[in-house]
């Protein structure tokens, strides 16, 4: 479970370099978000393009991360695979998070240096 953070203008993109956010790694994920988020000013965009599976532990960790950015910022998510998007829809958490198709869409065409 690795989080890679990149800032472009007023957006911090945090890429989750793992294919699962589930019970074995949910606490580690939360801890790493606690480390990364305080340094992020402006918009925070979590890129989940590598994630293929998320369970209720993973959802809980994401809600905890959302609370960390509130009230100043709303945690934004991008690149949700079909099974992940479905879990958000079922629990109606897709109405709590701002969800983009991908990072490019979220950035509105601005490029990030890679």
């Amino acid at each position: 479970m690795e989080l890679e953070s990149e800032t472009a203008g007023d957006v911090t993109v945090i890429t989750v370099r793992a294919d699962r956010i589930d019970a074995p790694v949910a606490i580690r994920f939360k801890d790493q978000m606690y480390d990364q988020l305080p340094g992020a000013k402006g918009r925070v965009l979590l890129d989940l393009k590598h994630v293929r599976f998320i369970d209720s532990s993973g959802l809980g960790a994401l809600v905890a991360a959302m609370k960390m950015t509130a009230p100043d910022r709303k945690l934004e998510l991008a690149g949700l695979a079909q099974p992940v998007a479905k879990v958000f829809r079922l629990t109606r958490l897709d109405q709590v998070f701002t969800i983009h198709d991908d990072v490019a869409t979220a950035m509105g065409g601005q490029r990030i240096a890679t």
Binding site: F53, D55, S56, A64, M66, K67, R92
Partner: protein, 166 residues
């Protein structure tokens, strides 16, 4: 103390039964640990591959199993105890029947949690971080039944595969 990896499908071929063309029963025994639960769901998905699951159905099966089994890891047994869990899977018509047993603590009140949709209020700080699991289980599985015997929890549930006729 059961070994750290699931026994059954791979190491004991005698426990696999073929009941139809390419469709197999599955019987596994394993310790209640999160990392083992991942392996077990992988084995179940492999066994279901014969049924040509859609991405959606595979995702549903994986999530359903994760919620049921992780709940046993977290609540039936004491933290890190790694108590015994058994899982049996049997195809039946266009469904797959599951039976999961563990020797841990009973469900509170002797019943399954209601699993109502978590309350999502305007105030971000009151958002729930738990309680999604039982809601998801009830949304994804059918015919969920819980039985508590003297020493054992037994959970029965069904995964419906609408497009499959076996």
């Amino acid at each position: 103390m059961p070994p750290d990896s699931p026994q059954g499908a791979l190491s004991e071929p005698g426990r696999l039964r073929t009941t139809g063309p390419g469709v197999e029963d599955l019987s596994l025994v394993f310790p209640a640990k999160h990392i083992v639960v991942r392996q077990v769901t992988g084995l179940v998905l492999d066994a279901l591959r014969h049924l040509d699951l859609s991405v959606d159905e595979g995702g549903t099966a994986e999530l359903l199993l994760a919620e049921v089994l992780n709940n046993i890891v977290d609540h039936a047994y004491r933290k890190g105890e790694g108590g015994r869990v058994s899982l049996r899977m049997r195809p039946a018509g266009s469904s797959v029947l599951f039976e999961v047993r563990d020797g841990g603590a009973s469900m509170p009140g002797g019943e399954l949690p209601f699993g109502k949709a978590p309350e999502l209020s305007e105030d971000i700080h009151t958002l729930p971080e738990s309680g999604f699991g039982w809601f998801l289980l009830r949304a994804l599985a059918r015919d969920i039944r819980y039985v508590r015997t003297e020493n054992e929890n037994q959970l029965y549930f069904t995964l419906c595969l609408d497009h499959v006729t076996l």
